[in-house]
Symmetry: C2
Subunit: 360 residues, 2 copies
DNA sequence: TTGAAAGCGCTAACAG
DNA sequence: CTGTTAGCGCTTTCAA
């Protein structure tokens, strides 16, 4: 038993297909016609097929969502935000997990293109080159949490000025400092929803400093250029590069990075983890090496997660509004205005629990 | 600059559109024609539009994925499994989050129907009535982790016998006991990928029993009929119903349930949490009430999560292969065989850490 | 092996 | 206000 089509409804109601189409999409029609059509449609259990409509309009109307890893609580919360907004707009969401791999990401972009999904929200894994095809194809893209940079240079630039407007309102301080190092990677100029990494990192470092820590390390993940750069600035002077280590998106690599760091530099007394998986790794590695937190090592982590409170000791964190980020990204990508939507920078919050102590 | 269509390719290659279609889908064509077409297609950067194909074939070929909550680590891992399989099959995945609410679920099913997504994987929130429309519309559906039951009766029945075949191979014991209580809710007879709740719960209870615990409580979530029933059976005799409490899918409700339980029944010495959010709530509530784990209270939790190890004390758990479940569910729903695919029951594993101790 | 042609279900001109 | 008609891009008979 196949579904009724618009033609069936038209025949059964004794009207033309155009009339049915109009009635169903709120066009003009005489009250009686409208009523009859509606009745017949309900009676036949008619559901307009998105297939026909999409082909006709040459677009699907759905939203693509590309994330590095749904296993990461941050991305899960972000996704929930996107889905909540999409649902209230009645839009379907096509999801893809990139594993933080630019190639997979490129493949998924291709898939979305093939499906004519013309709007996408992404926590990007690849650089500007990965995303250029999507942009050129006219996709409406909004980035969340990170920005793809032009390949080549290594020091990230602040996002385009439009992005910082909101922050300035939030903490009353321009986020773009007057002086900058020379070589800069330019981020893609595309609307984005970011957290205020700079002030988050600064807060964390200052907090640690206030506790007396001098050798504080940074544990970074992929796509986190802005955080690292902010870290270098926050510690001031000539940063001890050995105290800055990276991992890719996996748990194993995060653990390896943390463990390696703690072993090669037993003199460090505090570490800031650039994400919840890094924080997890730091706690695990510390425990394995018999480092007491916070006596031997203070740890502070980017992103608040439910288990931060269950951890021993409870983790001090820089909280980010992940769900809001997703919701707002969806709002932006759905906004079909004439002008490109502005970017948004959301504030972080220091949540003090028990994983940081004074340097002994 | 719009995308090239099949017609453009045909013209540029001096052949008919049918030929292009054939070449691109691996049909027969003379080597030289094939080569020419392929060259032109590449040169024009031609990508076949899924829109046209889908309309013609009256189906999208994508997979729908309906989950209660992406914020829950279990569902996140499940989703990653589904996405991994879908990606290797080149199929897009349309995702929806139901919040464990049957109404939202029904709405999302409607949306998938409208999109002509004819295959769906779900951790169902609603009952059989919620899913009947999807089934009647001819959707290929595979359930994961839970099964929708016929509304009315309250005691769940084991899933259809096909489902237990795999388990019997796995642990050599038939999962369907000879004797059963009288009133039963029938699960929908649809392929599913489930974990062996019965043996998992039994293992947990026996472990606790071995430690000397007599008053062990159960903290249940939504859609967990089979686990509760297994719990009742595992504790044997007339179960103390006051020791069995439920919450809906939210963290708040889980915490309230746990806290309430601990306060009304201070005599209990052990609790099994029916999911990771329940476990989280149990630990939090215990801590709040100054119950020492495991001295005053032993806790064991369904589902292993990364933070179980970071928790204090590290949580003893019944691990479930969430990611595998997703992957296998996707395999099932993609299997386009003549016969309906068989269900799968996957084993659990007791992982002993530090949250259970002897009764003092 | 190939091309012409007929739609898939829908919307948007355009006429009436 | 309403019906007729022309496609959207693709696959698939059916002849040639």
């Amino acid at each position: 038993m196949k579904r009724a089509t618009i033609k069936d409804v038209a025949e059964a109601a004794g009207v033309g297909v155009a009339t049915v189409s109009r009635v169903l999409s709120g066009g003009s029609a005489s009250p009686e016609t409208r009523e009859r059509v509606l009745a017949v449609a309900a009676q036949l259990d008619y559901r307009p097929s998105a297939l026909g409509r999409n082909l006709r309009q040459r677009r699907t109307g759905g939203i693509g969502l590309l994330l590095p890893d749904l296993t990461d609580s941050f991305h899960g919360r972000l996704a929930e935000g996107v889905l909540a907004c999409a649902r209230s707009a009645g839009e379907p969401v096509v999801i893809g997990s990139t594993g933080d791999d630019p190639e997979q990401e490129a493949e998924l972009i291709g898939m979305l293109l093939e499906q004519s999904v013309d709007r996408v929200i992404a926590v990007p894994a690849g650089d500007a080159d990965t995303w250029r095809p999507a942009l050129k194809a006219g996709m409406g893209v909004v980035f969340a949490d990170r920005l793809p940079y032009e390949p080549g240079a290594t020091e990230p630039e602040e996002p385009a000025t439009a992005a910082v407007d909101e922050l300035m309102l939030l903490d009353g301080v321009p986020a773009t400092p007057a002086s900058r190092p020379a070589v800069r990677a330019r981020p893609l100029d595309v609307p984005a929803v970011l957290t205020d990494d700079r002030s988050g990192v600064r807060t964390a470092v200052q907090y640690l400093r206030g506790l007396g820590h001098r050798r504080v390390a940074y544990l970074g993940g992929p796509g986190r250029e802005r955080r690292v750069e902010a870290f270098r600035q926050a510690v001031g002077g000539v940063p001890d590069e050995e105290l800055i280590v990276f991992s890719d998106g996996s748990r194993d690599s995060a653990y390896a990075a943390a463990s390696g760091l703690f072993q090669t530099r037993p003199d460090l007394t505090a570490v800031v983890a650039g994400g919840n998986m890094l924080g997890e790794a730091a706690v695990l590695a510390a425990r394995e090496l018999d480092l007491r937190v916070p006596r031997d090592l203070s740890v502070i982590m980017f992103d608040d997660v439910p288990w931060a409170e269950l951890c021993f000791p409870p983790l001090t964190v820089i909280a980010q509004p992940a769900r809001d980020m997703g919701y707002r990204a969806a709002e932006l990508v759905l906004r079909t205005g004439p002008r490109r939507p502005r970017s948004v920078l959301l504030p972080t919050e220091l949540v003090i629990r028990g994983s940081c102590g004074p340097r002994l």
